[in-house]
Symmetry: C2
Subunit: 319 residues, 2 copies
């Protein structure tokens, strides 16, 4: 007789507790269940699932559709949120290119497992139209109060300070003057050549954290949905010409606001300035669930899955 995945009987089917928060859903992923009755949780602390379940509507924000890239592949849709604060020139460029249909029929021509999926025009016969030939580097930016930087207390090997801006992982220097988006998994960034000012049309998404790329390339946003489609892309090295394997095709790449409402996928992201976001991180630093016998009192910023869920069907979030 089939049993539930978290049947408490020894030796039966086992589900690792308390970790599946990347999945879309109502905050509590289906596979994530609390410890069985009788197990003592960490005194006075809620689990991350409980924190999300108790969140208020105001803890979530609906990304601006003008800042959402829909990358449609045969496998499905990848949704990228472009930053409102970082990389304005690169953001303008990708929006211009997407609006022109530049990427339609181009491909993910360089997909290296554990590293990046890189896309664009390997063959170089596509007209970039109104887009810039090259872009100024935007490896980092002045850290402004308007960004609403929410620092983490955890030490980081790559940056003097770390935290979140608009729910995106960010680093900053010791004096808090410069800030940059981090190359955690799902970072959306621009390739370039050796010279710093050579980014143009080619972009990549990190398949694993690649923090050594921080401040060396321009990160413009992050994938908030459909990352599994990029992880599944056929691995391919750049071909030497059009007769080679150019990888999987980009069916279309558009700005969400250009699509009819019925073709959009409304999402909400847990907002990084909120107490709920801070509580969620604390609950992942030290797991409340009795399952965990070792609690590190530490979290790596790239190991915080930022919760994303389907937007509530209200006029505000559906627009």
């Amino acid at each position: 007789m089939p049993v539930q995945p978290n049947d408490p009987r020894p030796g039966r089917v086992v589900v690792i507790a308390g970790a599946a928060l990347l999945a879309l859903g109502d905050g509590l992923a289906p596979g994530m269940r609390l410890a069985p009755a009788g197990a003592a949780p960490l005194e006075g602390q809620r689990s991350s699932a409980e924190i999300l379940a108790a969140s208020a509507a105001s803890d979530w924000r609906a990304p601006d559709p003008e800042s959402l890239l829909y990358i449609d592949l045969d496998r499905g849709r990848v949704i990228v949120e472009l930053s409102a604060h970082f990389a304005p020139a690169h953001k303008a460029q990708i929006r211009t290119l997407a609006r022109q249909g530049y990427y339609e029929g181009l491909s993910f021509y360089r997909v290296i497992d554990g590293f990046v999926a890189q896309a664009g025009d390997l063959i170089e016969n596509r007209d970039r139209g109104a887009a810039a030939e090259t872009l100024p580097p935007e490896f980092d930016r002045p850290l402004l109060d308007a960004m609403g930087f929410s620092p983490l207390r955890d030490a980081d090997g790559y940056a003097a300070r770390i935290g979140f801006v608009d729910s995106m992982p960010v680093g900053s220097d010791a004096d808090g003057k410069r800030a940059w988006l981090l190359h955690c998994a799902g970072a959306f960034a621009f390739g370039r050549e050796t010279a710093a000012d050579t980014a143009s049309t080619e972009f990549y998404v990190t398949l694993q954290p690649q923090r050594y790329l921080d401040r060396n390339l321009t990160v413009a946003g992050r994938v908030i949905d459909g990352m599994e489609h990029l992880q599944a892309l056929r691995r391919v090295e750049p071909a030497s010409g059009p007769e080679g394997d150019l990888g999987e095709t980009i069916v279309s790449m558009r700005i969400a606001s250009d699509l009819p409402q019925a073709e959009r996928k409304p999402l909400e992201v847990l907002a990084s300035g909120t107490q709920t976001f801070a509580d969620y991180i604390e609950a992942r630093r030290n797991r409340a669930e009795a399952f965990f016998v070792h609690r590190p009192d530490y979290i790596d910023i790239c190991q915080i899955p930022v919760p994303v869920r389907p937007a509530r069907a209200t006029p505000e979030t559906q627009r």
Copy 2:
């Protein structure tokens, strides 16, 4: 006219330099090329590609075929190296189960993007035969000289000390008495229930680093080849019964030494005790290539892709 991927002309096709060392090959992945002539490398330092290209045969070790799991999926083969030093009870268990054909026709029934791919017998009607019903926890082990622990100088938020044993990432406590395999991407580990001694037949592989699981579950090895097949698995939550989606099937899971020579895939792993391994890591801490304008002088142990290559065809490595 098609151009090479790393054509130095501005605005043309761009390949990120110096990072694609996860790929199998002769140490230098095809997509990884040095900076164009004229760009000044870091004074007196070789790139990681140059270091691997200059490596000696003795810098590489061929894993023991008795310690290699071949997990064959319809998509391809995943190869796991089981540790010679950690988790002996779990290693014995998985070898017993594999030899019995226990996993044939079972599936990866829980695959959560950015978290884990978990496999085994969700329906619980498979006889475990000679395997143990439950296993003692092996969350950590005494750190012995015989392990040949090679420490890293980099600070780590989760462990007092970090380094490598048999080219596998390892943590240790401050007094160097206990050690454990880390949950970097590709860790091969056993699921359990809330009680620590309930691991049995269900295993998982981490799809991203999940360091908070360190010392909370038993890691027994790591994927050394075919990780892209696990990343591509159809995402699925555990079904509530056999009528549900059980995920993708395990065609077979065997020990390499049980296969005829012609069916094996001989591989070599860069040995962590060597000067070449140390040089390789240093070259990734601070990239020599002129491409990099920011050098962090730091490396996260989970962001070190341990080089793996096809074994040289000598009697020693082919046995």
